[in-house]
């Protein structure tokens, strides 16, 4: 589904990603871990097409298409979803209206007709249950005045409604208490199926107790320096990132 080859990217002239290679197949969950400043969020930004990130080398194929050639909205319509680390507030724009507009853009892209308000309401009620959110959220402006936990749940709600093929979760666990973390993880687990895939970016192993990954990759100084299964995350938990730093330096 996603094939990243030798990806280099820089921000304002500083090279952040230095040769990333990653293959993601349908049905898989990949966790990307790493210390602060290792390039985790840059990877998410490059995949979603955020401005200000320059890809200097390498290729990213998504379902056989050159992902980097697509505008951010085209990537989204093709089924790439980014759960933001810092969801943005949009004052005056009703959450329900925003979500319906987004869903209809995606449907239009796939040649489907717009969803009726009645059907949309049915759909969203069902999805709200999944993230244990109250219907009154729909009437509020997008993320405005939401608590940190509410914002993150809103990201998962959007993911549930838009049903992406590839979801990138950028530190969705940061700032969540254990209850909210469970709700978010639960939502993700319910959405997992054989035709979609997840890239879960996290600093801590904690989230991976609830979203059990098929693969764990450790990102350090812009490169994936270790890959393994879920035990790699546990190992990191026990030994910390210093273990990676030290072993990497000795290797160099």
């Amino acid at each position: 589904m996603l094939s990243i080859k030798n990806l280099y990217a820089s921000v304002e002239g500083h090279e952040i990603l230095k040769g990333i290679n990653l293959e993601v197949q349908a049905g898989q969950v990949h966790a990307i871990m790493g210390p602060n400043g290792s390039g985790k969020s840059t990877l998410a930004a490059v995949l979603s097409g955020r401005e200000g990130y320059d890809v200097t080398q390498g290729t990213v194929l998504y379902d056989g298409k050159d992902l980097l050639e697509l505008a951010p909205e085209e990537r989204a319509r093709e089924g790439l979803f980014l759960a933001f680390q810092y969801p943005v507030e949009i004052p005056g724009v009703n959450t329900s209206y925003f979500l319906r507009t987004a869903l209809n853009e995606i449907r239009k892209h796939h040649g489907k007709e717009s969803i009726s308000s009645v059907k949309f309401l049915q759909l969203i009620r069902e999805k709200l249950k999944m993230v244990e959110m109250d219907e009154k959220f729909l009437k509020r402006s997008v993320n405005e005045g939401f608590s940190g936990g509410e914002k993150k749940r809103n990201e998962v709600l959007q993911m549930a409604v838009l049903e992406p093929r590839l979801a990138v979760l950028d530190e969705t666990d940061s700032g969540l208490d254990i209850d909210a973390l469970k709700i978010v993880a639960n939502g993700v687990n319910m959405l997992r199926h054989e035709n979609n895939a997840f890239i879960v970016i996290t600093h801590y192993q904690r989230l991976l107790n609830y979203i059990v990954p098929d693969f764990v990759h450790v990102l350090y100084q812009g490169k994936i320096v270790r890959s393994g299964d879920k035990d790699l995350a546990l190992h990191l938990e026990d030994y910390g990132y210093d273990w990676i730093k030290e072993s990497n330096e000795t290797k160099d």
Binding site: S48, G49, R50, E51, G52, A71, P72, E73, R75, A76, R77, F81, L82, F84, P87, V88, E89, I90, P91, G92, V93, F98, L99, T101, A102, E105, I106, H109, S141, Q158, L162
Partner: protein, 481 residues
Amino acid sequence: MPEDLEMLEHFTNQEYKYGFVSEIESESIAKGLNEETIRILSQKKLEPLWMLEWRLKAFAHWQKMEEPRWANVKFDPINYQDIVYYSAPKKASSPKNLDEIDPAILEMYTKLGIPIHEQEKLTGVAVDAVLDSVSVATTFKGKLADLGIIFCSFSEAVREHPELIKTFLGSVVPAGDNFYAALNSAVFSDGSFIYIPKGVRCPMELSTYFRINAQFTGQFERTLIIAEEGAYVSYLEGCTAPMRDENQLHAAVVELIAMDNAQIKYSTVQNWYPGDKQGKGGIYNFVTKRGLCKGVHSKISWTQVETGSAITWKYPGCILQGDHSVGEFYSVALTNHFQQADTGTKMIHIGKNTSSTIVSKGISAGFGQNSYRGQVKILKSATHARNFSQCDSLLIGDKCGAHTFPYIEVKNSTAQVEHEATTSKIGEDQIFYLNQRGISTEDAVSMIVNGFCKQVLGELPMEFAVEAQKLLGVSLEGSVG
């Protein structure tokens, strides 16, 4: 970042879609302004002598006045002798019904999205359409007449209801109020007149569409609305003009009078031609609008969505004379390219327990300059008067400007006055967030701007709120991309 600027520039480049000129035969008088012009104009309109005298008095006053220069707008001096003060479609001599109207006019209104026939039947909105100087169609007249409501062109009111006109014309905006009001008083051509009798709630939205069609013509319409005790009316005006290289002057006067417990809701969707991307051409929209809350518990609400005109200069205000009277002003003003707007309101509190609310949303894009200018005046007699003002500005790009000039004058210590103001820039983060959900940049900007204006758009009658939303989107298309 240069990339954003490119984006912004691209988005602000959208053509004005109402810029067509219709081939309608019209009858005009020669350019220029003097007593003779006014006499001819009055004669053409078959006016009674008192009306002509009123005009001439205003003209004499105007000649002694000077063009005001205090607004935060820049323009070359206007040559008032180079304007045509009267132009009328030839076939339009007092039509009895829609069948008598020149089909070309009806077709033009259809182009503008105002199918008069359709509107009459479907929407239940009574429409008066003013083309250049003359009112060409007033629908639904019969139905309204059954309730005692008068909704007709201003010229007709002068002929048919002289007592009402004599009593109320100039009672809120005196002929010598300001330079443009005096000019209008001398040369006003047509407009709408509404009278709602005691205790009557007007059952439908009343609406007027103004259109400047002929070249070198100024439009000087006059609107007068009177709501008797306990009456209610909601009125909406819309305006468009063709694309012309020269600037055209529009100087209207609107007067509203609300008696005891009466309520008037006045909404404007102003989309005069704004000029091209280089700032050439466009309408100078210099308008005086004022409402008098004469009776106790009366209420006047102004709602305006100003997206057009090269220069907008207007301050729809309320004189809160009756005790417990309420004044409201909800405004969205958008300036793109080289448009300039200096707009706001005046709330004059005279009666006890009077209250006013001001919500102003200014959006600037391109090289647009947007100023809010508002006056809140609480007189000594206005015990326990209250005002709340909120002025928010949204900037799109880095070459535009937003300015706020609030004037607050309080002469009674029991008064409560609150003023809040914010200025924000449309965020790349917001646009990217919406992009990442599959929404294009143009739609994203439109969504963010509409969200910003929500509080004001919510005050518009339902069917027009949708139109206004689209208009904001269209006016900004090309400003980010």
